[in-house]
Amino acid sequence: MPRPYTPKVVTASDLLEGDVIYLTATDNWTRHLAEAELIEDEAHAQLRLLLAESQPNRVVGAYLAEVKPGPHGPEPTHFREAFRATGPSNYAHGKQTGL
C-alpha cells in the first residue's frame, strides 16, 4: 500500500515585501498560514505549485511545505515553518504582530 500523502501548502516570499505568503484555495495569496489551502493530494499539489510558479511577478521561491490539519486551518509540522508563519523570536516584528 502506498504511504499516505503528507499534507502540504504552497508557500513563497512576496516579491515586493519579501515576507511569507501562502496560496489559498481561491487562487489568492494570504499572509496567514491558517488561511492557506490544505493540499492532501500529490498530483493536485504539483498543479498548485505550477500555478504559483507561473506568477514570477508576484512571488519568489515557491515551494510545498509540510503541514498538518488543525482546528483553524493548516499548522506547521517543522519549527522552520513555524517561525516563517509567526516571525522572529527576539522581537514581535513579524507576522506575530497581526496574529
Binding site: S13, L16, G18, N57, V60, G61, R84, P88, H93, G94
Partner: protein, 555 residues
Amino acid sequence: MYSYSDFDRAFLAERNAQFRAQVDRRLKGHLTEDEFKPLRLMNGVYLQLHAYMLRVAIPYGTLNAAQMRQLALLAEKWDKGYGHFTTRQNIQYNWPKLPDIPDMLDALGEVGLHAIQTSGNTIRNTTADHFAGAAADEIADPRPLAELIRQWSTDHPEFQFLGRKFKIAITGSPADRAVTAAHDIGLRIVEKDGELGLKVLVGGGLGRTPMIGQVLRDFLPRADLLPYLEAALSTYNLLGRRDNKYKARIKITVHENGIEEIRRLVEARFLETRAEFSGEDQRLLGQIETHFAPPAFRGGNTEAYDTAYAADPVFRAWADTNLAAHRRADHTIVSISLKTPGQTPGDATAEQMRAMAELAERYGYDELRISHEQNVILPHVHKSDLPQLHATLKQHGLATANIGLISDIIACPGMDYCALATARSIPIAQEIATRFEELKLEHDIGPMKIKISGCINACGHHHVGHIGILGLDRAGVENYQITLGGDAGPDAVIGSRAGPGFPAEEIVPAIERLVRAYLDLREDPGESFLSTYRRLGDTPFKSALYDAADRTKAA
C-alpha cells in the same frame, strides 16, 4: 578616515543608478528572479526567512558620526528602527522592502557607504582590528592598506566571478583582534630590520570544514601587497574547484594542493603581476595615508577619571572591562557593549546609533569602529571625559560592563532571520547572558568567549569560541552541539566537539555545568577558562557535561 573623491562619488552614483534600473526591471517583470538574484546579491540584497535583508559594508569597521547617523536614518525610515552589526563588520537591515532599497543605497552613498560586494562570489568587505590606529600594542595602522584593498577589489573585473566568496582580514597588532587566521587571506603587519611588511596567511576559514590559515609568505614588503594579492587571487581563481560549492573555498584549494605548491604558483604569478603594477598603487596609498593621520589629540590631566574611578563602583566596573590601552597614556579605547543581557547581540536601535554618533563627536574625534565581536568602539577618548561619557551611555542602555566576559556573546542571526540557518542562535545567547546575570558570576568567571552559530556555515565563529555552540536540526528539533577550547587570537585554535548535542531547553544548564566545573577546577581566580582547559584537557569538562547527576535526560 578616508573621504570619497569625486571619482568615488561618481562611481557609486552610477552603480546605484544601475541597481535602481535593475530593481525596476524586476518589478516590471522584464527580469526573472534567476536573472535578478545575482544582481541583487552583488549589491548586498538577500531574500531571507521573513523579508529582504540589506547588508551594508562598514569598511574595516570604521565609521564617522555622520555615517552612523545615516545608518540610524535607514533603520528608522526603511526598517523597523534598528540594525544588526555582524561578525564581518557589516550592518544588516532585516526588514527592507525591495522597491525601497535603491533609495536606501542612495542615502548610504551620500555619506560614502555602500553595499557592494557584501555578498556573492567576490572579495568581500576587508575586515580589520577594531582598535586600529589606537591600540598601544600596534605596529602600524592597518586601515590605509585595507582601504587600498577596498579600492582595488571593488568591481575588480577579474574577481567578480570567483569560485566562491573571498574574505580578507588585516591586523597591525601582534595581538590579532581580527581573527586573521580564519580568513581566506589573513594579513599581519610585521617589522623586519626596521622595515614594515606583511605576514601573509592563506586558507583559513570556519564553516563546514574549519581550517587555520597557513603562512604563505613570512615577510612581504608593504609595496608588494596588491600585486601579491592579485597573484594569490588569480592562482585561486584558476585552480579552485567549481564542481562542488562545498569544496570551492581557497582553504580546500590549499588543503588539496598543499601549501608548497600554492606558494610556488603564487610566487610564479607574482613575478608577472608585480611587473604589471606601475607604482600607481603606491601613489594612491600615499594619498590614502593622508586620510588616516591621527587626530590632534588633546592634552590635559586625567584627574576626573581617577576621582570617578575611586568613588563610583559602577563606573569602576565598567572601566575595568570596557576600556583598552591606547597608544597615548592620557587616552583610552572605549568599547560600547551591544550585549546587554537579554538583548539581541549586535543590535542597536536608531536612537542608540544617534547617541553613539553624538558621543563620538563630543568625546571621540568623530571616530567609531564596529568590532567583529558585534560591539561599537570609540577608539580615542581622553580619560577625563570618561565619567560624562559613561553617564550618557547609561541613559541609552549602552553602559553594560561585560566586554570579554561570558555575556559578551557572538551570535549570528540564526533561524530567527537567516534562510540558511538550521536552528536559532539569538534566544540561546539571550538565555545564557540572562542566566549568568542572575547568578552574578560573570566577573568571577573572567575572560570567556562564547560564540554561537545557527548552522554549519559558522558566521557566529563557534569553532574559535572558548565555548562554541552550533545549532542544528536533529529530526525536526533544534539541537545544540558544544565545542571546547577554541581560540580566535594570534595562535588560533579550532575547538573540539565535546560530544552529542543538547536540545534547546538543556543547553543553558549544560553551559552552567561547564562553567561551574571550571570554577572548581581552576588553580586560582587568575587562571582563565581557556588556560584551565588547556592544562587539564577535555575530560573533566566532558564529565561535567555528560556525567552530571542533575542531568535530566540523555541527548
